[in-house]
Symmetry: C2
Subunit: 272 residues, 2 copies
């Protein structure tokens, strides 16, 4: 599966810009999972099956699995998505970054061990730290640009040659790192004006992974209005908690499906 091609297919065929983030927190699971030793897999699988037709991709966040020692659940979850929902790409949200010789091992973690179609990476260590990911031309490399958290500006907004660092990162990715055409950027929903600025810098070809809608307070309509490309797509709008934990009762799967569908419709109302 070529990540960018699969993503474009989902944007059109599934008519969705929604990404469901898979951030398992057992304390938030419905009561029926109490005592289930494989609850992380079972809960995430149920969410995947309930929301698959609403999404352009899924995004498991690896820290939530790692803190629980649940790497096996992660591997099986990605395999489940590939087997039961073929064509829906999986972004492993791990925000890795290390020197080149070590980054190769992180690329193996994402693309070989867990069979992800894309991975999030941190640009602070520079080009050679990202190269082992870029070399997987069929995989997506989603580079942190402007994140959605309160402290994002501490470094990302520092002025470099007259513009904020995150804009420098955006241009560097578009100009230097995207030789295989497999880059995307993380640009948070909490700052719609920044989405517009980054789109102007990088053009229409580079997808944005946009976290921060839902629990973090980002405005879904403003995201699409400010950051859609000329085709009314180019966006992977991620929601995690607002979908996963839409209900803590036995209707958790239906509630997740409704939350994903509602987000999809809100986004689609502003695509064109």
């Amino acid at each position: 599966m070529n990540f960018i091609a699969a993503l474009k297919h989902r944007w059109q065929q599934a008519d969705s810009l929604v990404c469901v983030g898979l951030d398992p927190e057992p304390s938030k699971f419905p009561a029926r999972f109490a005592g289930d030793e494989d609850a992380v897999f079972h809960f995430c699988r149920d969410i995947v099956d309930a929301t698959a037709e609403q999404v352009c991709c899924f995004k498991p966040q690896i820290a939530h699995f790692a803190a629980l020692g649940a790497e096996s659940a992660l591997t099986r979850l990605v395999a489940h998505i590939h087997a039961h929902h073929p064509g829906i790409p999986v972004i492993l949200d791990s925000k890795r970054g290390d020197i080149g010789s070590t980054a190769r091992h992180y690329a193996d973690e994402a693309f070989v061990r867990h069979d992800a179609d894309a991975v999030t990476v941190n640009p602070y260590l520079g080009r050679d730290s990202v190269q082992p990911f870029l070399d997987h031309a069929d995989k997506g490399v989603v580079v942190l640009c402007r994140t959605s958290n309160p402290g994002a500006g501490d470094l990302q907004d520092l002025m470099v040659e007259g513009r904020p660092l995150y804009q420098h990162v955006a241009e560097t990715v578009a100009r230097d790192w995207n030789g295989n055409g497999n880059c995307a950027l993380v640009v948070g929903a909490t700052w719609p004006g920044q989405l517009r600025e980054v789109r102007a810098i990088v053009g229409d070809a580079i997808p944005f992974l946009v976290p921060g809608v839902g629990a973090q307070g980002g405005d879904a309509a403003a995201v699409v209005t400010n950051a859609r490309n000329a085709e009314g797509s180019g966006l992977i709008v991620s929601s995690s908690r607002a979908v996963l934990y839409a209900s803590s009762s036995d209707d958790y799967a239906e509630a997740a499906a409704k939350a994903a569908r509602d987000l999809r419709e809100t986004l689609n109302a502003h695509r064109r």
Copy 2:
């Protein structure tokens, strides 16, 4: 174990600034490990036992374990160090960084699951992404400042208000993030002049984790001369491949001990 206190104790009592990096690569293991299903643990354990008296700390690099699905070996390795070499702190080199609610899970990964005494973190997401680590006041938080790789300068050397970004990070950590006195900085050995500049910015209290000696070409003597504090310490000089793979024959443990001892003596010759 309080990380900073334990580190100071090792600097003085073990008279060592050496950190042995544990980066297992089975293809480089001596032939005797062929067919050993627990080779990652056994090889690293042998290196630890052979080099313990030469070091101020150990630094397992998590990507090397994760790519192999060997988290269990990592957990058992840290437990082995704590049990058999008490007082030697363990830095988990994972360079994590994510929004605060996710960073909590990475802190659990490092400090609860793997029982590490310190962890490396990436500053690109800002203060709230580091806070869950900082809140563990007895643990060390080793923030990337100026790394040792060829592309380090792509972002880290960009000029912000008249000085490179990495110096801004150094000052931010010293001024704002070190309230619990548990911060350290990664400053690579490949650029000794930068070590001197960062020491001048942050003063004597903040330890530097210095990778890049050995396989990456950094000059051990220049590291100490440029970056030691007034007590002739303040440094965690890390060597991985040059120690681990000093010999691929049955004398691998003795060769590793010799490489660590040689590095220790080279560093100590310039401490005072």
